[in-house]
Symmetry: D2
C-alpha cells in the first residue's frame, strides 16, 4: 500500500465485484430489543439472512451496545426501546429481554404496527398472553414466540415419528435438563429450563395435558426454586415428566419418548447422533389363561439413528418468521402455543407451592 | 486313566492335599428359600464363604431345583420350605421369594428359632414389618433386610462423603433408574426399582423424609404402574427424587447428590469410576446492596474419582450377616431400615393413586 | 427335616422328577488340561451343554484343583495331564495352558486319538502348528483353535456385512485394544492381545495379508514388549492396523472397519450396541475438468445398530466343536486358521526387533 | 426514530459513552493473508484483542473477501497479498494459506520487515524452514508457527505434569486423531492431522525422537494417503505413536500419555474434563527369587481431572505473539519448533513410501 493508487484500484475492484454478487432484494427491516444473552444470536441470524436487515438495536446497557457497534458498525443503537417502535422503517420487532418486560414491549410493538417475535416464556401470565394474541389478531400482525427447539432437526424428527405413527401410541415423554446453570432472580428453574420441554411437547405430542403435579426446592434464601420436578397428565395414559436443576455437577439434556411400537432417546449433547430410535418394547398377551404367567413379553430389535437436518434452529425459525410476515401464515409457535406453555407454567408454580397438589389445566380453549 | 491304579493314587493324593488346605471351622448353616432370580446369588455367596454352608434349598419349581443339583450336588433339595424350618442343623434362613410371601416365611423362620435374611422390600405392609421386628427382638434373633446396594463400595463412599461433611450441607438426592425391565404383576415399578434408592437414601442421607408426593402410570391394562416419579421432602431444604421406568429404551443408573461444598455423580454403569466428586457449587453473596445484581456466584474446580472397594456387595453383606449372628450386633440394614423403606413405599402407593397428593410419613418413631 | 421320613420322601420325589426331565443322550467326554484363567470357562461351558460331559481336569496347582472340586465334585482331578490322555473314556481334550506347552500337549493328545481344542495362540512357531495339522489330518481327528471372538454375534455380524458386500470394498481394519493388563513373561503383548484381532481379521476380511510392519517397546527390564503397533498390508489397498498396550490407564476395545459404501464401528465394551453401521463415506468425482477443484465428496446418512446374537461366544464355539466331532466337519477356526495367525505373530516379532522393517508373509500356501 | 432529532441525540449520546469506555492504546497492526478455513479465526482473534488491529486482509477469492466486508466493514481488502507487505502501517503478517505457499509469503513478509505468524506445517521442506529461521534471525523479527494446540489449557497441563515429574518417567505418547475429514490434494493425512500431535509432543515430551517408522494407504486414485500410522522412537524407551484417518465413521481425539508414576488420558472431545490423571501403574519387583513368579505388580488409585484454563487457545497464542513482538522474546512455538515438526513430516513421508522402513531423524542440531 506504498503504491496507494495500485492498492486503491485493486480494492475498488474487489469491492465492486463483491457488490455485483449481492442481489438487491426486498428485505424485512428488524429492530431487536435486548442484547444480553440471546439478543446477539437474534441479531446475527437476522443479519446473515438475505431477506432481512437489522436496522436498530436497543439495550439499556452501554457496554452491550458497544459490542454491537464493534461487530455491526452500521446498526443504529439506542438505550431507549421506544426509538425502535417509532422508526417507520422497522417492520418487525424481536424482543430478547427479561420475561417480566415481554408484555409491555410486545404490546407497544404491536400497537405500533410491528410484527413481533418474543422470547420464551411469552409472558409472566396467561392474562397477558391472551391480551397479546388479541392485539395481534385485531391488527393482523404476526405474533410468534421464540420456542427455538421446535425448529431443530431433532425435534422435527421426533414430531415426524409421532405424527407418522412410527412410535405407535405414545406412552410417555420424559426429560432431564440439568447443569450448573445461571441462577435467576425473577423466575424459577421451571420458567427458565422446563419451558424448553413444554414447548417441545406442545409441538411433538399428540394431545395436550389436562393437569400437572410439581415439586421443587430453593437452596438459596429468598431465591426461586433451583430444582424442580413436573409431572403432566394427558388422556389415554400418556404421561410426561420434566426434571430441571440449576445446581447439578454434570450437564444432561436427555429425553426419552416411549411408544407402543418404538422408543426414542434424544440426547441433545450428542454431536451428531442426537436421535436414536429403538425397536424395543413390550407385547401384551391377553389370551393367557393363567393369570400368574407372564403376560408381558419383550421385544428388542435394531437401533437406528436417522440423519437430521443440521441447519441452525434459529436460522430455520427466523426464516419461518419472515415467511409468515410475507405470506400472512400463522407461525408454528404462534401466540396460542406461547399461551399454552404459560398456562402450564402458572399451574406448575401453584402446584410447587402446595408440594405436588394436582392442578388442572384448561388448554382446550386455547388449543388450535 | 488306563493305568487305573496310578490314576487313583494320583487323585487320592491330590484330594488329600486339597483337604489339608481346607481348615475345619465352625460354620453357620444356611437354608435358602426361593431359587428364582436372586436365590442363586445367595446360594453362591453363602457357599463360597468359608464361614457358612448351605444345607438346603427349597423352591416349588423342580427345574430350578435341578439347577441347584447340577451345581451343588450335596445340597438337600425340597419343594416344601417347611422342611428347612424343621431342620435342626440350620441356623439361618435366607428368603428370596415374591414379596407377598416374605411375611409368612420370615415369621415362621423366626418362630422356628432361625436368624433371617429377607429380600427387599421386607414386606407388603408396615404392619407386617413391625410384627417381624417384634418377633426377632423377642427371640433375640438377627433380622436383616437384603438392601444390597448399601454394601457396595460406591454407596459406602457416598455415605462417607456425607458423614465427614465433605459435601457440606446436603441439598438433594436425585436418581434415575430406568431400563426395559421385567414387568411384575404383584408390585409396581416403585416397589421393584425405587426400593433400591430408598434403601440407599436411608443409609446415606443425614435425615429421614417427612412426606412424599408421587406420580405414575400403567401402560398395560390391569397391570401395576410401570413408570413412576417420587419426590421426598426432608427438613432443612433437602429434597430427593426418584425416577423409575420398566419401559425405557436405554439403561440408566445415575444418581446426583448435591451439597453446598461439593457434588457427586454416581453412575453405577461405569465399570470403575462409579463415583465422581465435583468441586462445583455456588457461593451466595448476601452483602450485595443491589438486589438486581447477581447474588449467586459459581465455583468450578477439579473433579476427583476416588478408588472404591470393589468387593462384591453380596459378599460383604453376607459376611456382615454372619458377623451379626456371631456377635449379636444389629445389622446396618436391620428390620427398622426395612420398615422405614416399606412405610415410604406404602405412602408412595397412596400418593400415586391421588396423582401426586402429599402424604406425610411418620418415620420418627422407627428411626434408629 | 426333623421329620426325616417326610423329608426323604419329599427329596426323593424331587430328585426323581428332576431325573425324569433330564434325557439320556450320547455325550462327548471331555478332559480339560489347565485350570488357570481360561480353563474354568471351558469346564463350565462343556459342563452346561447337554451334549458333553467333563470327565477329568488336570492342573499342576492343587489350589486350582480344589476349586474344581468345590464346584464339580464328580469330576476326576489330577496333577498329571498324562492321566487324561490315557483315560479311554475321554473323546476330546481341551488345552488351556501357557502357549509354550500347547505343542507337546496337543501332539500327545492327538497321538492318543483324542480330538483337540487348543487355546490361542495355537503354538509358539508355525513349524509346530504345521506338525499338529499333519497329525490331526493323518488321524482324522478334529483340531480346533479357540479363536473365541470369531464366535461372537458382533464378529459374525461384521463378517456378514463384508461377505454380503454391504460395506462395499473393504478399505481398512483398525483396532485399539488397550488396558492395564497382566504382564506376561513368556509372550509379548502382541501374542497376548493382538492375537484376538488377527483371528477376527482372518475370519472377517476378504483376503490375507502379504506383509507386516510392526513396532513396540518394553518398559520393564528383561520383559517382553508391553506396547506394540502392527500394520498389515493386503492386496487392493486394504490395510489393517492393531494397537495393543498392557499399560494403558483406560480400557479400549474399539475396531473401525472402513468400506467404500459403509463403515462399521465395533465397540466391544458397549453392553448392547456393539456394532454401529454408518452410512458415511466419500464419493470420488473423476470427471472433474479442474484438477484443483475438490474431487472427493462426502456422504453422511443414517446410522444403524443391528440386533446381535447375544449367545455367549464360548457356548457357540463349544457347540461347534462338538458338532465337528460328530459330523467330521472342519471347524471354522481350524488348524490352518491357527497357523495363519501364528505365522503373522512370528513375522511381527521379527519386524518389531528391526523397528518396523517390512516382513513378508507367505499365507497363500496355508490359506483354505 | 420518527423524532429524528431525539433519536440522533440518543444515539450520539450512546456512541459517545461507548467511545469514552474504549481506551486509546498503542496497537500492533496486523495483515492477514488467506481467509479460507483458518483465516477468519485469526482475523477475529486479532480484532477482539485490544492490543492489535487488523488493517487488511488478502485472499484471491472475492466471495471470501465479501464475508470479511460484511463482518468488518473497515478492514481493507485486496486480492493481492503484496499489498499487505507494502503497507507501511502493518507490523506483522499472519499467513493462513495452503502450505505450499507458506515459504514464499513468509520470506517476502520477513524481507518487508514484518513479523510473521505462519500456519502449521511451517513449510513443505526443512530447507525452506531453515531459510526462514535465518531470515528472521538476521532481521531480528519474530517468526512464530501457529501450533495452536500448544496454547490450550489441556496441553499446557500435560506439559506441567511431565515437567514437574508428576507422571514419573514418560513411557509413551499415543494419539488417535480420526474422523470423516476433508480430503486434501496437496498434502497427505500426516501433514494435515499428525502435525497437531507432532507439535504437542515437541512441547510436552522431555526429549526429541531419533527415528520414525510410518505406514499408510491411499484409497482414492492419485490422491495422497488418507490413513496413516506413525511410530517415533526416543532414547530411554520412550515411544510415541500417532494414528490419523480422514475416512473414519466416528470422530476420535484421544491421547494417552503413560508414565512410571501416573498416566493421563486426554480426550479433546470432552466438553470440560479433557484431562484425566490416573494413579495407575505397575510396580516391578526385582528381588523375586523365582523367575516364574509374577514380577510385575499393579497399582490402581484415584482418578483426578484437574480444572483447566478454558481460554480459547488462539487468543492465548495471539497474545503471546503480540507479547513477543513487544518484548523481543522468542515464541514458544518458534521457527525451530516448526522446523523440527517439518523434519519429522519429511522423514515420515519417506518411511511411508518404503512401508515402514526406519528413517533416522537429526533433530539434535535444531533442538533449542
Amino acid at each position: 500500500m506504498i503504491n496507494i493508487r495500485a492498492h486503491l484500484e485493486q480494492s475498488v475492484d474487489a469491492n465492486m465485484l463483491i457488490d455485483q454478487q449481492s442481489q438487491a432484494i426486498d428485505t424485512i427491516k428488524i429492530g431487536v430489543i435486548g442484547y444480553g444473552y440471546w439478543g446477539p444470536n437474534l441479531v446475527r441470524s437476522f443479519a446473515e439472512i438475505p431477506g432481512s436487515e437489522v436496522i436498530a438495536v436497543s439495550d439499556f446497557k452501554l457496554d452491550r451496545l458497544a459490542k454491537v457497534r464493534s461487530r455491526y458498525p452500521t446498526i443504529k443503537l439506542t438505550t431507549n426501546s421506544q426509538d425502535l417502535l417509532k422508526d417507520p422503517r422497522i417492520d418487525a420487532i424481536a424482543i430478547a429481554t427479561p420475561v417480566s418486560t415481554h408484555y409491555d414491549l410486545a404490546l407497544a410493538a404491536l400497537q405500533a404496527g410491528k410484527h413481533v417475535l418474543v422470547e420464551k416464556p411469552m409472558t409472566v401470565s396467561s392474562q397477558q398472553a391472551m391480551r397479546l394474541i388479541d392485539e395481534a389478531q385485531k391488527r393482523n400482525l404476526v405474533l410468534m414466540v421464540d420456542h427455538t427447539f421446535v425448529y431443530t432437526g431433532a425435534v422435527r424428527k421426533m414430531q415426524e415419528l409421532v405424527t407418522t405413527k412410527v412410535l405407535g401410541d405414545v406412552y410417555y415423554y420424559d426429560s432431564v435438563r440439568v447443569n450448573l446453570g445461571l441462577f435467576q432472580h425473577d423466575v424459577n428453574v421451571i420458567w427458565d429450563l422446563a419451558v424448553h420441554d413444554l414447548s417441545i411437547m406442545d409441538y411433538v405430542l399428540p394431545s395436550k395435558p389436562y393437569a400437572v403435579s410439581a415439586t421443587g426446592m430453593s437452596h438459596v434464601l429468598n431465591e426461586p426454586e433451583n430444582i424442580a420436578y413436573l409431572t403432566l397428565f394427558f388422556e389415554n395414559n400418556l404421561i410426561a415428566h420434566i426434571h430441571v436443576n440449576w445446581l447439578a455437577p454434570v450437564k444432561v439434556r436427555r429425553t426419552l419418548l416411549g411408544g407402543s411400537q418404538k422408543m426414542v432417546c434424544y440426547d441433545d449433547l450428542e454431536p451428531s447422533e442426537k436421535i436414536k430410535v429403538y425397536d424395543k418394547g413390550i407385547t401384551v398377551n391377553n389370551s393367557s389363561e393363567n393369570v400368574y404367567q407372564m403376560l408381558v413379553g419383550y421385544r428388542t430389535g435394531d437401533m437406528w439413528s436417522p440423519k437430521l437436518d443440521m441447519t441452525e434452529a434459529l436460522k430455520t425459525e427466523v426464516l419461518h418468521f419472515l415467511h409468515c410476515i410475507q405470506s400472512g401464515n400463522r407461525p408454528i409457535t404462534d401466540g396460542e402455543a406461547g399461551l399454552r406453555v404459560v398456562r402450564i407454567l402458572e399451574a406448575t408454580t401453584q402446584s410447587i407451592k402446595q408440594q405436588g397438589r394436582l392442578v388442572e389445566l384448561d388448554l382446550g380453549k386455547v388449543a388450535a
